[in-house]
């Protein structure tokens, strides 16, 4: 097994909320550079082709440029999205807990680059240790000179705050996060207007995932070229893969973006448990889909996976070995989504509940051919019908399980 490419999770950086040790490992340099040349940061991020690591894979610089172009009304917000509630995803909690200063520096660099003066750390309330680490780290920033220097560079006071999220799955959606930060229930909103134009209280708002922002200081210090060279083309940089399920060594692996599934599972994950054959992999994220053994040599990056009909999502890889029922797994996901639907949009509220009920029937041996037929029709009908992506993502998972494992559904019928 080759040594892991450790940038974000380099042992020297995993110091917890200890500002002195973080600075000793090179922390703070990126912020100093950003204070000199905020626009240069945006260029570097653009050239590095940094993507949104929270699941969308959206190019980061586009969001940043959009927010940078807006005038403060009267504030500009940056929300650091640490809601992390996707099945099988456990990377952001690790970054927040073990490298909170790295994340905070990334957030401040981003704030300088786009001119945001209010930085909100939005963290899943169940992640008690992450919350504690961020809280302690923010206190250290308030006590240090660095924050004051950054405020000076920005030209107005930078405010850091920690806001425990709602605990709702849907709260991870960016407009839902905005609602919660405003003080309301985390209902997603329709777009446009995009958060870049009108986010928290109508102010321009940038929302980035924890992992995305953690990459930023390294790009600023080492340059875009260095970052691109870390990845396996077309991927750039590194990615935190959350490997779980029927593998010998589950865990978070920082590997070059574009590492193949085969390398991840067999070289780093130690292969499948009890030597069973691989059946499928659920990729976690707002629109998770299934990978099968034929995808073993596809690079795990946003573009390569999209090209083969999958999606990288958050980088969660839930490995399923032969002997596991796909119908049961999908039924469980569907139950999760039905529970997670916020209920605003009828198609999603009723759609996820109906699909969940039908899948439960099929899974417990009470389903009929008509039930399966209904599900397939819903898959065609529902996508795109909600304010947010939940219903579409739900259907994408179901649809991809139909595509690969239709036989199992048929066999489960009464």
């Amino acid at each position: 097994m080759e040594p892991l490419t450790s940038i974000l999770l380099h042992p020297e950086r995993r110091v917890g909320a200890d500002m002195a040790r973080w600075a000793a490992a090179g922390g703070g340099q990126a912020l100093a550079r950003a204070a000199q040349d905020p626009a240069g940061v945006r260029v570097a991020i653009r050239e590095a082709d940094l993507r949104g690591m929270g699941g969308s894979g959206f190019t980061v610089w586009r969001k940043w440029e959009a927010v940078a172009a807006e005038l403060p009304k009267p504030d500009k917000y940056l929300i650091v999205n640490g809601n992390e509630d996707e099945p099988g995803t456990f990377k952001d909690r690790m970054l927040l807990e073990e490298t909170p200063h790295q994340v905070i520096e990334g957030a401040l660099v981003a704030a300088l680059a786009v001119g945001a003066n209010r930085v909100v750390f939005y963290v899943n309330p169940d992640l008690k240790q992450s919350l504690a680490a961020v809280d302690a780290a923010i206190a250290q920033w308030h006590a240090s000179e660095r924050l004051a220097q950054a405020s000076k560079a920005l030209g107005r006071t930078l405010e850091l705050s920690l806001r425990p999220a709602s605990g709702h799955y849907i709260g991870g959606e960016e407009t839902a996060a905005i609602s919660w930060v405003e003080g309301g229930f985390p209902f997603p909103r329709g777009k446009p207007p995009y958060p870049a134009q009108a986010g928290v209280h109508g102010c321009p708002t940038l929302i980035n995932n924890v992992e995305t922002l953690a990459h930023v200081p390294h790009i600023v210090v080492h340059g875009a070229e260095w970052f691109r060279s870390l990845g396996k083309a077309p991927g750039t940089g590194t990615k935190l893969y959350s490997l779980s399920g029927d593998v010998l060594h589950p865990g978070v692996y920082e590997l070059p973006m574009g590492t193949t599934l085969r390398e991840l599972i067999f070289e780093h994950g130690g292969g499948l448990l009890s030597g069973k054959p691989l059946k499928a992999v659920f990729t976690g994220g707002p629109s998770c889909s299934l990978l099968t053994p034929v995808n073993l040599d596809v690079g795990l990056d946003f573009d390569s996976l999209r090209a083969c009909g999958g999606s990288l999502g958050t980088g969660a890889m839930i490995v399923v070995s032969e002997g596991t029922g796909i119908v049961k797994r999908v039924a469980e996901y569907m139950r999760f989504f039905a529970h997670s639907s916020c209920g605003q949009c009828n198609s999603c509220k009723v759609g996820t509940a109906t699909m969940s009920r039908l899948l439960d029937r099929i899974d417990t041996g009470r389903g009929t051919a008509a039930d399966l037929d209904t599900l397939e029709n819903l898959c065609a009908l529902l996508p795109g019908s909600g304010r947010c992506h939940l219903i579409s993502g739900t259907v994408q998972l179901l649809d991809s399980s139909f595509r690969h494992f239709h036989n199992e559904y048929r066999q489960a019928l009464r």
């Binding site: 010998l248 002997g323 529970h339 899974d363 489960a412």
Partner: protein, 531 residues
């Protein structure tokens, strides 16, 4: 266990009820005797656990094999299995399970009680002696606590002991309200008596079948309660965990009748599966009922619960050897307390019969190992319990005080009034078990453990009458605590903890060939259970 010994027929012919008996030899050094002969002290019977929450700790060898075994089921087995939802799931239909069910259902929870055999098939019904509670004027809760801790060689958890002792009087009141009969004095007070290790009279009882009477009452109450559903003949084969394998969210059952799997999803699981006598540790016979195969220990350990005192078991000195089908069945300690002596094949006393149980056991085992025992045809060995001499000194005594013993032996053509009973120590009680707090909560969220399965109450030795109190006290506590468990979000039920256990076994280089829990002893499973 055998090393020569006199054949049964020959020993019977040698036995004289009126022989002159010398006093037993002075016991110079009990520790040497224990170290040489008591199964808990045998070095070969203890190993270190390699995986799990107790890795690195001592554990009895056969139990360790069970705890570090592969699960029965895989995800594939659950395909198409019907799912039932309930508020509280109770596994085990003995006294502790029923008490927990009544407590939870009494507060409005939907309760599902699932038992491997039939409701009431348990060691509870075997308890003969009685139940302890400090109710006498010259007694106090404090003394009950002290007696229990001292009896357990101060290895017990004082918090648990104190909780149990404080519950004592209330438990008795509750049992009476539920309809249980206790022996009374002429004036109508509860009759109490004193037993070994007690500083005051504290045992309440109902003839020599206290547990049976208790189970009768609990069983009726459970059956009549509309909030409790009971599944019989449904052994638990695995617990279910959340997607991180860290919280217990249900269990998988099979059926002894049709072999199909059923899934139960719930907010909290109360394990009340009892002891493990039927694992026949160190090849000992057991006084336990057929279902006591330690399933709960295996399931709890696999999902990550901490256990304790896994190398400490109670062996009862007087288990029957003959006839074979009663092997291991108990002759109550009361018989010795009433004055019955023990003799070896040569007709000599070899130990003071009223010493603590572990020492008497070791002395019997020494006689058997050194060729002074009595051997039956299949090679098992024992010593005499001299009941005829007791009958001769106190005529009518056996019939008056021990009707259950008399009935049981006479059914197989043995009359203890004229013929001594052949006895050998029998595996009786599991002193340790799952680590719990005063509410019966284990170290795994959503999982409770009560009754003999739980550890820490009796330390490394249990005194008489505390088992029945333990099951009701902690059963009711867990029943109440279990209904306050709730979860936000849907219950995703997985076998993730099984994967984690499998991973740990693989990494430790352990074989995945043995499977557990055992569910039924091998000899009972033939033909009906072919796993």
């Amino acid at each position: 266990m055998s090393n020569g010994g006199t054949p049964l027929a020959q020993a019977r012919a040698l036995y004289r009820v009126d022989s002159e008996l010398a006093a037993p030899p002075e016991l110079a050094d009990p520790d040497t005797l224990l170290n040489a002969f008591h199964p808990d002290h045998l070095r070969s019977s203890v190993v270190k656990l390699a995986v799990g929450a107790n890795a690195g700790e001592n554990c009895q060898r056969e139990l360790a094999q069970q705890l570090q075994a592969e699960a029965f089921i895989d995800e594939a087995d659950l395909a198409g299995a019907p799912v039932t939802d309930t508020d509280v799931l109770i596994i085990g239909g003995g006294g502790a399970g029923c008490a927990a069910a009544l407590a939870a259902a009494g507060r409005g929870a939907r309760v599902l009680l699932v038992t491997k055999l039939r409701l009431g098939d348990s060691n509870t019904v075997m308890a003969e002696g009685g139940i302890q509670a400090a109710i006498e004027p010259d007694d106090s809760i404090q003394r009950h606590i002290q007696d229990t801790l001292r009896g357990g060689h101060h290895a017990g958890d004082p918090e648990l002991v104190s909780a149990m002792a404080q519950d004592g009087p209330e438990v008795i009141r509750w049992l009476i309200e539920e309809g249980m009969q206790f022996e009374q004095t002429a004036s109508g007070d509860l009759h109490t008596r004193k037993a070994g290790g007690m500083s005051a009279a504290r045992i309440m009882h109902c003839r020599d079948y206290t547990g049976l009477e208790m189970m009768r009452v609990l069983r009726e109450a459970v059956i009549q309660h509309r909030g409790i559903e009971v599944w019989e003949h449904s052994p638990a084969v695995e617990l279910l965990s959340n997607e991180r394998g860290q919280k217990c969210v249900g269990a998988v059952f099979t059926s002894l009748l049709d072999g199909r799997f059923r899934i139960v999803r719930t907010h909290s699981v109360i394990l009340a599966t009892g002891g493990l006598g039927r694992l026949h540790l160190n090849n000992f016979p057991t006084s336990n009922h057929l279902g006591a195969t330690g399933d709960g220990l295996v399931l709890a350990y696999r999902i990550g619960a901490q256990l304790r005192d896994l190398d400490s078991f109670q062996y009862h000195p007087t288990g029957l050897v003959h006839p074979p089908y009663l092997s291991g069945k108990l002759v109550t300690e009361g018989v010795r307390a009433a004055g019955a002596l023990m003799l070896n094949a040569a007709g000599q006393r070899f130990v003071d019969e009223l010493l603590p149980r572990d020492i008497v056991c070791a002395a019997i085992l020494r006689e058997c190992a050194e060729g002074r025992g009595i051997r039956v045809d299949d090679g098992r060995v024992g010593v005499w319990l001299d009941t005829p001499r007791l009958e001769r000194s106190q005529p009518g005594m056996l019939e008056r005080q021990f009707p259950k013993l008399l009935a049981r032996t006479q059914m197989s053509g043995i009359d203890p009034r004229s013929e001594p009973l052949l006895i050998h120590p029998t595996l009786h009680y599991q002193n340790g078990g799952v680590v719990i707090d005063v509410n019966g909560a284990t170290t795994v969220p959503g999982l409770f453990a009560v009754g003999e399965l739980a550890g820490g109450i009796h330390g490394r030795n249990r005194i008489m009458g505390n088992a029945l109190l333990d099951i009701i006290s902690f059963g009711r506590r867990a029943g109440v605590a279990a209904i306050s468990e709730h979860d936000r979000g849907p219950k995703k039920v997985t076998l993730e903890h099984v994967n984690q256990a499998r991973r740990a076994l693989t990494l430790a280089g352990m074989p995945l060939t043995q499977r557990a829990p055992q569910i039924l002893p091998d000899y009972a499973a033939k033909g009906i259970w072919n796993r």
